[in-house]
Symmetry: C2
Subunit: 269 residues, 2 copies
């Protein structure tokens, strides 16, 4: 097991990446991110695509986290601080008592990611999903239904933001994703890799419930308010989920669950 390094001063420079984490994002800083909680940390330690850079734990949790700590690579420092010091570092009360800074090892571009998806599969293309709860929820559903790849346009928020990882229950660390550079033509990209683009939109005459999907399907999902860019919609097969009068939308994470259940478990048979 790696040595545990005691931290007594919240200003200690070694724990700088953990400072005031509530309102900031480590994105862009060497592909670093902050993960929290036992479930997510276990996923980080098991992942080939990510690796821990360091851990920060509450001193009183050392014993109860022993099973996790033995799996931390020897060259990864584990810092331990009394709970008040830990809270002072992070800028709020860290009830879970365990944080890690991680790094993404594998950052494929979209073409590389899609080339890895062999055979049948349902993937997601997300446009302007700017809410971390929704993005985390979409990743959680994608993991549940075995989605092999998620593409994010340049208006999406970051799946590796702490809250998105937490809401995804770690799925942001298990579902492979790629970010599309601004200006990418996502439909051309999908077609190049043999994915039929389908788009959920309330105005479509064809319903999801009756849709028979292609073996390789890409589901386009946009933000709840504005919906998908009409130029994208026009180039995808539009599908609707009919709703009761007076209701005009579903939450986008819920929509992803409905669509993935239908396309992966109902429609193929």
């Amino acid at each position: 097991m790696t040595e545990i390094v005691p931290i007594t001063d919240p200003a200690d420079p070694r724990i700088e990446p953990y400072r005031d984490i509530r309102d900031r994002d480590l994105v862009g800083r060497d592909a670093l991110f902050v993960a929290e909680g036992r479930v997510v940390l276990n996923m980080l330690l098991a992942s080939a695509a990510y690796r821990p850079v360091s851990l920060l734990i509450a001193a009183h949790r050392i014993e109860s986290l022993a099973d996790l700590l033995v799996r931390v690579p020897e060259d990864v420092p584990v810092y331990a601080a009394a709970q008040p010091v830990m809270d002072a570092i992070a800028g709020f009360a860290i009830h879970r008592g365990i944080l890690a800074v991680g790094r993404r090892n594998d950052t494929p571009d979209a073409d590389t990611l899609l080339a890895r998806v062999q055979g049948p599969g349902t993937i997601l293309l997300l446009s302007a999903i700017a809410n971390h709860d929704n993005l985390g929820g979409i990743f959680r559903n994608a993991a549940a239904f075995g989605v092999p790849a998620i593409l994010l346009d340049s208006d999406c928020c970051d799946p590796l933001y702490r809250k998105a990882i937490r809401v995804s229950v770690g799925a942001a660390l298990t579902v492979p994703f790629a970010k599309l550079p601004r200006g990418t033509d996502p439909i051309a990209l999908l077609e190049r890799h043999g994915f039929e683009p389908v788009a959920l939109t309330p105005s479509a005459a064809a319903t999801l419930a009756r849709h028979r999907p292609a073996a390789r399907t890409a589901v386009l999902l946009g933000a709840e308010g504005p919906g998908l860019d009409p130029a994208l919609l026009a180039r995808a097969r539009p599908l609707s989920i009919p709703m009761a009068p007076g209701v005009d939308s579903l939450n986008v994470a819920t929509t992803s669950g409905i669509v993935l259940h239908h396309l992966t478990q109902v429609a193929p048979d």
Copy 2:
């Protein structure tokens, strides 16, 4: 249009129900609740089952809310306060600039509510849904898929809590619900009204995707962690949503959307 009453003192006793609303619940106080935002207020004003008791609006919003204010009954006071006074009353920043206290007029017991559901229909029975986001999300999905009744056991939180109403996008004010007194036998209640109880549980051999529902179906949903009480599960038809290895649950609100879409739009055909 009703007269607008200016409020300049946050301690004014007339606006007592709006004080420090973030962390409290008006439940039990004459069936009062707090609603916020234009969309929800419009639903409150249109509802037969609820009525507004008073409104509190930010003074600078009077003009932009004129279309809504003309629909407020004459005997319902509309209080207007400068934004800082409004924020001081509520205890946090009320960005939406409009709050109302409402009252539930129609509080049917479960038997009365179910007796109103004629013909085919899919209803929900919720057990121990203690998270307002999840409860609001379930109501939102129920409204989208035309659910005529929701039953809540005594371990559920309140759909009329401010945050649950907000997350439901007002559906907590449109989908009829009844709370079951502690000790109610919910399965006997459902069977008395001709509803087949189905329960979502990961261990079931039968899948939702292959299920052909009865014309009158009640979907039992429990909290994500503990799941449904085994004694309830044993008396319902168990259905699973198969998930990828390593994933053991879906968010319960997402589950409600998947199940309702399947039972109301896919399976009947």
